[in-house]
């Protein structure tokens, strides 16, 4: 936690967060005077999700999403908390950068979507083409901008050219200068109602999308694919795909175990808010689901490292995902019933 000054001299507290989008949203709200934690935003914005997209490839590897599409968490959370936002995209990089400077001068702090590969300050292990990394611009400094990237521990400096490139890189991963800031915010939102809305929405997303690649059905689909992958693709290639999947579980700013721990943290916070015993129990269930995902990632790592453990096989790794799918289906059915009993 470090304190920085925004353009108008108002202090901004930089908090370390797990996920870029939720952390940026909570930081924007906190700056406006609404103290709300990152897991709370994640839950209210219905962040938890599962989707396995076999046809969408990011540099030869399939996308396995453990959260909702970039941008939706923040939009839904803002809507449910009654915040008034300005959201903009640009075609012309010059115009986008000029407007960013103007808005910063007016004393706002601005959330930006950037391409992670082109941010000058990230290290090699974070570098991959992903066009939805969210950061906050605090103020303009000489030759660049002061940036608060909540994924990392401390605020950093970023050159103007680097930021322009990251915001307007040509190609399919172009964020098109996506930027957003809060105009006004409801200082005393109805948190209980917002939580209920978020939970209900999450249940629907996980259980009711009638396509085999989303929600718990998607998990079962992925599990079958992983079980078959060794025969179908050969050991080397199957390992590559498995490493890609584990990356989505652990690495891409998930807060551990594919956002499951973060959601457990949200349910825990909500249980205090509602004083509900049921939610305490559900938080424990979610932690167990997170532990199963972690078991899967550790087993996959053993397969990749060829540790010669007899239990580390593709069939068992797939089996663990199936177990996760069953647990999560039970969890969200349970949550659906509990939410009905909660009073806003």
């Amino acid at each position: 936690m470090t304190t920085e000054l925004a353009a108008n001299g108002k202090p901004f507290v930089h908090n370390h967060g797990a996920h870029c989008e939720t952390a940026v949203t909570s930081a924007l709200f906190r700056y406006q005077g609404l103290d709300i934690s990152e897991p709370m935003i994640f839950g209210i914005g219905s962040g938890i999700f599962f989707g396995y997209l076999p046809s969408v490839k990011l540099v030869h590897l399939q996308v396995t999403a453990f959260r909702n599409r970039p941008g939706t968490v923040f939009r839904k959370a803002a809507q449910r908390l009654g915040a008034n936002l300005v959201i903009k995209t640009y075609r012309d990089p010059q115009k986008g950068m000029n407007e960013l400077r103007q808005v910063l001068k007016a004393g706002h702090i601005v959330g930006l979507a950037t391409n992670l590969y082109w941010l000058p300050y990230v290290s090699e292990r974070h570098r991959h083409n992903f066009g939805g990394h969210n950061i906050i611009a605090l103020r303009e400094i000489e030759g660049g901008f002061r940036i608060s990237d909540p994924t990392f521990g401390d605020p950093v400096d970023c050159s103007a050219e680097g930021l322009e490139r990251a915001r307007f890189v040509p190609g399919p991963m172009n964020p098109r200068g996506f930027m957003y800031y809060t105009k006004s915010i409801n200082p005393h939102p109805d948190l209980r109602r917002a939580c209920i809305k978020g939970m209900k929405n999450s249940c629907g997303l996980m259980l009711r999308i009638p396509l085999p690649i989303f929600g718990v059905r998607g998990m079962r689909f992925l599990a079958k694919r992983i079980v078959k992958s060794e025969v179908k693709l050969g050991f080397q290639e199957a390992c590559r795909h498995l490493a890609g999947t584990v990356r989505w579980v652990e690495e891409t700013g998930t807060g551990g175990a594919g956002f499951r721990y973060m959601y457990a943290a949200f349910i825990q916070e909500a249980s205090e808010l509602f004083g509900s015993e049921d939610l305490v129990r559900l938080s424990r269930d979610m932690t167990a689901i997170g532990d199963t995902w972690r078991e899967f990632s550790v087993m996959s790592a053993r397969i990749i490292k060829k540790r010669n453990r007899p239990e580390a096989t593709f069939a068992n790794a797939g089996g663990l995902i199936l177990k996760c799918a069953d647990l999560e289906e039970a969890f969200f059915r349970d949550l659906q019933k509990v939410v009905k009993k909660l009073k806003a």
Partner: protein, 129 residues
């Protein structure tokens, strides 16, 4: 493995949610071992791709475009959309004899998409970066 430890020693730890002694969730910076393994696998693959491409260019099998594409972690489809050039043309331009005859206007488009100068685009570094 050295690579795993090395790439995680960059002073940029991420946050993870873990339970403290009272079973309350707090943010922590300790990552899971499996993350090291899979990130190292992916990083070493990217490095191997770049090195392979460099060797193939020096051997005269591929054009320098192929190397710069690997450095930017793109594939042909990605590069085609970034440069605004059809996929089959990008594939053709991977052949050194065809790349050598390209007009400067086409080279400029690749240079912008890959963020290198047109001179750099025609060469590859001699030694491993």
């Amino acid at each position: 493995m050295e690579l795993e430890k090395e790439i995680f020693k960059d002073g940029m730890p991420k946050g993870y949610y873990t339970q403290n002694d009272n079973r309350k969730y707090v943010l922590d910076t300790n990552h899971c071992w499996s993350e090291e393994v899979c990130v190292a696998a992916i990083v070493s693959e990217v490095r191997a791709n770049i090195e392979n491409a460099r060797k193939e260019v020096i051997a005269g099998l591929k054009s320098p475009l192929c190397y710069h594409m690997a450095v930017r972690q793109m594939d042909v489809k990605f590069l085609a959309r970034a440069a605004g050039i059809a996929v089959f043309r990008v594939k053709r331009h991977m052949r050194p004899e065809i790349f050598a005859k390209l007009k400067s206007s086409v080279l400029d488009r690749y240079a912008v998409a890959l963020a290198v100068t047109p001179e750099e685009l025609k060469t590859v570094p001699d030694s491993e970066a």
